[in-house]
Amino acid sequence: MSLNIDSIAGVFYGYIPFGDIVFYFTEFSLIGFIIALFFTLVVYLTKPEKQLEFQIGDFGDKLNYVSLEELKIRRLMAIVCGICTAFAMLTGDLFDYALFLAVIGIANMGIVSAVKKEGVLSAAFYYGIIAMISTLPLFGASALILAKTGTLSILELAKNSHDLLFQKIIYAVGMVGETGIAPFYAAKAEMFRAPGAPYILMIHLSSLLIIVRTVEIMLNVH
């Protein structure tokens, strides 16, 4: 299999012939996969913080108690998010990648919305709206790429030149709305100060890795 993606993604190690959904290994995707899995493990093992709130103009600090059940849900969502990020690093199919992005978006919503505060739930709601709107450019762009080239496989698309600038721009816009914008909503709700903070960091990590991976795909597909 001759590929000219070596210059961007590093050495090509091989692929898993898994039906239509082909996972492939390059230096880049393996490093991303291992990073995502490592941080998923870290999220699984860490204990959440307890949060102490100052009372302004008043005496006595308030300890925010988070029930074990709530924490378990948030941890499950963070682990789902991490696993999806890890496999989004490996996948070799544009539509499959879009589906992974959508699942990461749902998991992000789950992590954010597990905090029982009105402002945080509002932010989760608006993030959900943005994520749902951006399925149009994301899936629409993969459909347009399919219509223009007849394939969705990154390995096939990397072989020849197809002039896909417009489709790639729409795809990137969809990625930004689906996952890339999640840290803004996490920060908008002051998530770092919300009780049980460490699981929130999975949103930031997955968003970062997904943006880097999308850039790599957009450079490979041409």
Binding site: E118, S122, T135, F139, G140
Partner: protein, 234 residues
Amino acid sequence: MDIVSYMFGKSIFVGMIVGILSLYAISRQKSDLHTLLLTDLVECAMLVIIAAVGTDLAEALILPGLVVGLAEVLAVSEILIYRNEVRKNNLMSDNKKLRLFEEFLAKEEPYVNTDVNFNKMEVIYSAPKFIGFILVLYGAFLTGFTGGAVMASGLLFYLLSQGAIGNGVSFNDIKHSWEAISGFSGIMWAFWILLGFAGFFLFPEHYLFFLVITGCALALKVGSKLGLIGSLRI
């Protein structure tokens, strides 16, 4: 030029226009519930764009797209319901906190009456029968696995809506109807595998006869089997 490539550009255009108009409508909305519904419309426009490709692969892509869209709608609507509960509790406890830079934040959204007594809506009593009847008829017309699925969705919808209204099937009824429907489904399975499918290979010259048997038996089998779920009263 075939029909798919003739309609491709127009379908993409329609999808984009629907998406952009929905975005404009969302920007004009004041109620969160309407925002959610209009966002669902954007996802329908996404399905239009995928469907415009019109190949086998595009057909296979519509289903995951639809599932992901539904999952997101469910998640966001759960969040909306919970947010409104939390907001109501906050208003009840009446300790409104001052927020930082409150004068720069958006105004409170207008009050939407969510305490509708749903049991008094006439459409709940009349619509499920009609929709279920139409779906069962259409499923019988389609035959085969697809027809069975359509038929089952009609039955499922009818039974679930009966359960939601309150006059669902009682436990004793379930015990008998469950046995009866699963027995019927088993007989239909035997029909389509043993009579239809095997006969199709044994007597290829009478293929039309066996095709009709297979199609009808499969529709009845899938329809009755999936219809069982409706009597579970979840």
